[in-house]
Amino acid sequence: MKKTSTVGKSNRLVLVLLILGLSTIIFPLYMTIVIAFKQPSEMTNSINGILSLPKTWSLANFKEAMRVTDFWNSLRNSLLISVLTVVLSILLHSVMGYTLGRNKSNKFYNFVYLFIVSGMFVPFAILMMPLAKQTAEMGLANWFGVILLYVVFYMPMNIMLYSGYLVNIPLALEEAARVDGASTWRTYWEIIFPIMKPMHATVAVITALAVWNDVMTPLVIMAGSSQNTLPLAQLNFQSQFGTNYNLAFASYLLSLIPILIFYLICQKQILNGVVNGAVK
């Protein structure tokens, strides 16, 4: 933790660069907010028109957007699907990632690893029709089926992340527990699972984000049911012949808040990772 003066200087440089980079984010965000508050009649094709502040800061667009998307119901559905998917992913994918990561020298497990990871590259379009049929046959053409599918879809990526993380966790930790007579299952949940906390947070963020924004899976699987997720409800704002950008932007800003909060919480976990201490 000792700091020399050179580190201080380079940190200031880093800060300046980060602030510069930030402009590429602040600017689009500013546009989004301004448009979300404007009325369609304030939209123009000139730069001044788009960058100017709205005439009034009325929340009318947000209210209307919430009405059109049936916000609270859609939010509840989206939250339920996202939370359950994330929890199941962390539990199932981590233990599977551990199993495959610790057995890379075994031909069978190595094959299973490559087999599952290659599942990541299946274009969704080819799965769509068969899955629509299969989930209907199995009585899973509902949100529960959607969760199951997500758990399968994000399995390859998450397993890859978990087994990548394992490389830096020394085997010695488990061996010590084994000497004490703990079973492999117990060793995993009591020692390895907690150590992987930063990775859980990373997996949670990436999975939640992918699920939160996904349109196609619920569209195809839940087609015909009256349940909507937020992205599905947001489709209402755009059609080929007319898009209400003001309402849409208001709605997207609203749906951005929960996931941003979730990210900030997880980000703390990624940082407070216990691995440094454990490895030492």
Binding site: L18, L127, F153, M157, I206
Partner: protein
């Protein structure tokens, strides 16, 4: 010995149900989907089996060939750009600076904005703002929208893909940097390793697993690019930005070429698997060297 058996049994008991779930919802539908590639199906109604016709057509179809070239070019360039920037960003966000939490939150934002918003904003940016800036500064080559130029539109797509993807790759790099123990730096510091040297010889070797994960994820995400195409160009101008996924979805699902595009999807799947396995093999050999 008892322990070894117990360990083996536990691993097997974990693997089998999860693998079964995976096969049920990924492998079986994939095989079912691949069956359509031997038909002239439109996705519904009756269809005829046409044998390998779709596969033969695939190699003769100029549009499909063009989409492979475009997609591969886009994926390569974007992967390099994204990894360089997000690695720098991750190092920056991991260093001891002020308002770290704020920066991390802000840099995450591009990833959450819906593609309708991203599409609108960047269209506006390329159509109105850049040309206006170019006018002011007198750079005539940027005087018209790059999205309307068949030779340059891919750059626009690349910028937006990178802008959105950097957040996720940065998170992965940050979580990788957490696995680098502090004492490595301390030891390195004593040897006089700072700056670039510290990164090259101390930090980077330790985060290679994350580097290879990011490479694979990038190549996969950008080879399968779809949302950004829909949001930005819808394949235009003059069909110059039709990605493979765009063709598969647009012509297969929305259009009536379901059987043919299924064949395209099968071939595409094999191509990506080969690329990625090669990539993983390469980086795991790197890992072993270090």
């Amino acid at each position: 010995m008892k322990h070894e058996n117990e360990r083996k049994r536990t691993f097997l008991l974990i693997t089998i149900p999860i693998l079964a779930l995976f096969i049920c919802f990924n492998t079986i539908p994939l095989i079912r989907g691949a069956m359509y590639s031997f038909t002239n199906s439109r996705g519904f109604g009756s269809h005829d089996v046409v044998g390998l016709r779709n596969y033969i057509d695939l190699f003769l179809d100029a549009r499909v060939g063009k989409s492979y070239l475009f997609t591969i070019k886009l994926a390569l360039v974007t992967t390099v750009v994204v990894n360089v920037i997000s690695l720098i960003l991750a190092l920056g966000l991991n260093s001891k600076i002020r308002a770290k939490g704020f920066f991390r939150g802000a840099y995450f934002l591009p990833n959450i904005l819906g593609s309708l918003v991203v599409g609108y904003i960047f269209n506006y940016f390329f159509t109105y703002i850049i040309p206006a800036l170019a006018d002011m500064t007198g750079i005539t080559s940027l005087g018209s929208s790059i999205l309307s130029n068949p030779n340059k539109a891919w750059i626009g797509v690349m910028i937006v893909c990178a802008w959105q993807a950097i957040a996720m790759n940065t998170i992965i790099y940050i979580s990788g940097l957490q696995t680098v123990p502090e004492d490595v730096y301390e030891a390195g510091g004593l040897d006089g390793a700072t700056g670039w040297k510290q990164f090259r010889y101390l930090t980077f070797p330790l985060i290679i697993p994350f580097f290879s994960i990011n490479m694979v994820l990038c190549v996969k995400n950008f080879l399968m690019v779809f949302d950004q195409i829909i949001a930005l160009t819808k394949g235009g101008p003059a069909q110059s930005t039709e990605s493979i996924s765009y063709l598969i979805y647009n012509n297969g699902m929305s259009g009536g070429q379901f059987g043919f595009q299924s064949a395209n999807a099968v071939v595409f799947f094999i191509v990506i698997v080969v690329i990625s396995v090669a990539q993983m093999k390469f980086s795991s050999s790197k890992e072993e060297q270090l």
